[in-house]
């Protein structure tokens, strides 16, 4: 009898511990890639400053929201360079990398111009870096996120954009020179307990359920056997 009382307590404690431990894990929350093969992202420079803008059809290939993928959506991005942050630094293995800080917003939404379902939006600082003369630029940072479908929780965030198709990354007038490029991106954040991403896998939940039913049946049978006797 003691054993039967201890077992449910132990199961309950395990479930609570599992729920608590997985309620705010940083996880990948969204991946997207631009549709088609154009270079719709535009960087426009004026002396000392560069703005990166675009309103681009994208395909969401992964989202922590229990929504079937792929999803057709739009990336709307508006970034402006932070004054006096452009530099060229040589790092091993003798590569010159161009860096510049950018500040602004992005949104991945159902419709163009940031309208419709807000799959993921963010604002904050991003560090842009790429190999001088190369065709790529990466943007990384820890922006603040909002979403109408992903159950976000407080915690560390990360945004990473990959831009390519640039015809020679360079600095002109103390800022990244004008270019056009393609874009893909991937984001991570802490998730709330109601998010599909932090919920136990269906197979694991199924095993717990089957085990629970088995335990109940066993208890019911024992009670019936005792009553008959």
């Amino acid at each position: 009898m003691n054993y039967r009382r201890i077992l449910p307590c132990l199961c309950f404690a395990t479930l609570v511990a599992f729920g608590m431990s997985s309620s705010a894990l940083a996880d990948v929350i969204l991946n997207f890639a631009q549709q088609g093969g154009g270079t719709p992202l535009t960087a426009t420079s004026s002396p000392g400053s560069t703005s990166i803008t675009g309103d681009i059809p994208v395909t969401i290939s992964g989202i922590a929201a229990g929504i079937p993928v792929p999803i057709n959506a739009f990336l709307n991005i508006h970034l402006n360079s932070v004054a006096n942050t452009a530099s060229a630094t040589t790092v091993p293995p003798g590569v010159t990398i161009i860096t510049q800080q950018f500040l602004g917003t992005f949104s991945i939404t159902q419709n163009a111009n940031g309208s419709g379902i807000n799959y993921l939006s963010g604002s904050g600082n991003l560090l842009a870096f790429g190999i001088a003369g190369g065709s790529s630029l990466s943007l990384q940072g820890s922006p603040s996120f909002s979403s109408s479908v992903i159950a976000l929780a407080a915690g560390a965030t990360s945004a990473s954009f990959s831009l390519t198709g640039i015809s020679g990354l360079s600095i002109t007038n103390s800022t990244i020179a004008s270019f056009t490029s393609s874009v893909t991106g991937t984001f991570s954040a802490a998730l709330g307990s109601s998010s599909a991403a932090t919920a136990p896998e269906p197979s694991f939940a199924g095993m717990l359920g089957v085990g629970g039913i088995g335990w109940l049946l066993r208890a019911y049978r024992r009670r019936r056997t005792t009553a008959v006797a």
Binding site: A26, D27, V28, L30, N31, F32, A33, Q34, Q35, G36, G37, G38, T39, V58, T59, I60, S61, G62, I63, A64, V69, T85, S87, T89, V91, P92, P93, V95, I97, T99, Q101, L127, F129, G130, I131, G134, S135, S136, S138, Q140, S142, A156, T157, S158, A159, S160, F161, S162, L163, T164, G165, S167, S182, V183, T184, G185, T186, F187, S188, A197
Partner: protein, 226 residues
């Protein structure tokens, strides 16, 4: 008759100019995003001072310079190894950038483990960099990658490969350990540029135009003879 000759010369010149100008278009040849939100790319210590980055993952191709309808379900297979003595932590403004050079191969194919239709494969030399303590690592090609594809009509010319990795667990986030990038797991997206010959549809249009012009010439000749 003079008009016909002029028309012929003009058409020929246009076709030659068009063929020359569009024979190798530089542009984006493929974009992909990983399916789902797991972290299937794994960086592991592969010896003293070295890191291997590898993974096989289902991906969605959102854009491809080929006569293939998108989105396309495919698999990314990635196998990279760090180049000795290239890891560094460099302070740039308010951030510290961790970087390391990697060489290896990738393939984006119909089936896992590089089998089935070869959408895009390549041998790459990549510069990997990310903010110290952050959750992301970006990889850009240092040298022109060598691409192969069974669906993209590639021609020689400048190429580039760019991978975005994120979801690296924080803390500690991206860091150096023992003179190399410390082990992590992450998600992945990527975008590639290169040179491709005009789409089959453009070639077909040119062909149809040429045939039409030939038939017109033949008819005129027959009418004149009669």
């Amino acid at each position: 008759m003079k008009l016909a000759r002029r028309f012929f010369s003009l058409s020929l010149a246009t076709i030659v100019a068009l063929a020359m100008s569009s024979s190798a278009r530089a542009g984006i040849i493929l974009n992909f995003g990983q399916n789902g939100t797991s972290t299937p790319v794994t960086a592991t210590a592969s010896g003293p001072g070295s890191t291997a980055i590898a993974g096989v993952e289902a991906v969605t191709i959102a854009g491809i310079a080929a006569a293939v309808a998108t989105p396309v379900n495919a698999f990314l297979s990635l196998n990279l190894n760090s180049v000795a003595a290239t890891a560094a932590a460099t302070t740039i403004g308010p951030v510290t950038l961790i970087s390391q050079e990697y060489t290896g191969t990738f393939s984006i194919t119909q089936n896992s483990n590089g089998s089935g239709t070869n959408y895009l494969s390549g041998t790459v030399d990549l510069f990997a960099a990310g903010i110290a303590g952050g959750a992301s690592l970006s990889m850009q090609s240092i040298l022109n990658p060598v691409f192969t594809s069974s669906v993209i009509p590639l021609v020689p010319g400048p190429t580039s490969a760019n991978f975005s990795l994120t979801g690296i667990a924080t803390p500690p986030g991206l860091s150096l350990s023992g003179g190399t990038i410390a082990p992590f797991t992450s998600s992945v997206t990527g975008t590639f540029s290169g040179h491709a010959v005009p789409e089959p549809s453009s070639m077909a249009l040119l062909g149809i135009g040429g045939v039409g012009w030939f038939v017109r010439g033949l008819r005129r000749r027959r009418t004149t003879v009669v």
